[in-house]
């Protein structure tokens, strides 16, 4: 159960209602993580703009590549909510199940499904998540072989934004919507959560009857 109430569209103030309308237009539904931000509309409005900007084909970076970063960064934080949803989104954009599976650990480095450019930014992603104070120069050099500064800003901010939203949702106990019940997360099948609490959440989710 979530730790704060979900503010349903019928109860939303005008600012939140506009955020919900934008979210529904983009994602086909108002997800629970949007509804929980209805508790503070002034925050919802500014916060979700970042994600609206990320979750689209960008002038700087394609959505497919951003989904790889989202899967990697949220899997490293054992975020069931994000991983489940973005496995589905990334599949729609063409990321195969085999490619999703190979993103765990450092499998992507030896996977035939990943390009050298993708390997470079997934290596950077691991450093951003684990220790952004000590990113080796060779990691940067490989990233810069493939991406310009505007793209690097989008890569780093996508990772940062998904660290933010995954921890936000997990801390507040935001639940996966019924529509996802029955989806068996590929990434957690190939690499179980390291967090005992996350494993508990996964077991509970897998026990739900398919929608």
């Amino acid at each position: 159960m979530a730790q704060l109430p979900y503010i349903e569209p019928a109860d939303a103030d005008p600012v939140t209602a506009q955020v919900y309308a934008d979210a529904e237009a983009r994602f086909e539904m108002v997800l629970n993580i949007f509804k929980i931000t209805g508790n503070a509309p002034e925050i919802a409005e500014k916060m979700w703009q970042i994600f609206f900007d990320i979750l689209q084909e960008g002038p700087k970076l394609d959505w497919y590549t951003k989904e790889l970063l989202i899967l990697k960064s949220t899997k490293m934080g054992d975020c069931l909510y994000c991983v489940t949803q973005h496995e589905v989104v990334s599949a729609r954009l063409g990321v195969t199940e085999e490619k999703q599976a190979d993103i765990v650990g450092v499998e992507y480095r030896r996977s035939e499904h990943y390009t050298p450019a993708e390997v470079a930014i997934l290596d950077l992603c691991q450093h951003v998540v684990l220790n952004p104070e000590e990113i080796p120069s060779d990691v940067w050099a490989k990233v810069k072989e493939h991406y310009d500064d505007g793209q690097i800003v989008e890569i780093v901010t996508t990772i940062g934004a998904y660290l933010q939203v995954s921890k936000f949702g997990d801390a507040l106990g935001v639940q996966l919507e019924e529509v996802w019940h029955g989806h068996a997360p590929v990434l957690f099948k190939h690499e179980p959560p390291t967090s005992k609490a996350a494993q508990h959440h996964l077991d509970h989710f897998m026990a739900q009857a398919p929608a």
Binding site: Q3, K60, V153, G160, A171, H201
Partner: protein
């Protein structure tokens, strides 16, 4: 030197607008905003979000600065730590109170109220494992803070996990965040 080029005089309209908003709020354009400027969408949305966070809100700005400092410490990200420490003092927090953010001193510090300690427990637990913020932590928080405040606090903590990571990764230095009076 940052990992990406910084822009001082933007030509893109969206970046110009973000710079104007930053200058009005901070008194100058912070280095992080300049480092994001090669990507107008990210520069704009992140700047407006951070401006909204760094002001009086449902929770006092003075306390929000302590939450930011504890968050940065908890996740080992030090982008703008010194600037936030100065800002926390400028907003009225005593040196002793700021110092008691160190490790678990806040748990027994006379400078922290039970309401503030409850928030520091939230910060610490999110830093350890956001999946394991259990009911006891939330029940204690609900004794002191309403739903809007708890949303703001959780957003603030996770925002600065993001900002700390991004600032450190891009190698940005921010000696002073606000050059206007706060």
């Amino acid at each position: 030197m940052p990992a990406v080029a910084t822009i001082d005089s933007p030509t893109d309209e969206k970046v110009q607008e973000a710079f104007s908003a930053a200058e009005e709020h901070f008194g100058h354009v912070p280095n992080l905003v300049k480092a994001l400027a090669t990507n107008p969408d990210m520069c704009s949305s992140i700047t407006h979000f951070v401006v909204q966070a760094l002001q009086e809100g449902r929770v006092s700005w003075a306390f929000k600065e302590l939450v930011i400092l504890k968050t940065l410490r908890s996740v080992g990200a030090y982008y703008s730590y010194g600037a936030h420490e100065g800002l926390a003092a400028e907003l009225g927090n005593s040196t002793d109170k700021i110092g008691d953010l160190n490790n678990s001193l806040w748990e027994t510090s006379p400078h922290y109220s039970e309401a503030e300690r409850a928030v520091m427990r939230l910060v610490t637990q999110i830093g350890i494992d956001a999946n394991a913020v259990h009911d006891d932590i939330w029940n204690a928080l609900r004794e002191h803070w309403d739903n809007g405040q708890l949303l703001e606090l959780t957003s603030l903590i996770t925002t600065f996990i993001n900002i700390g990571r991004v600032g450190d990764t891009l190698g940005v230095s921010e000696p002073k965040l606000f050059t206007r009076a706060v």
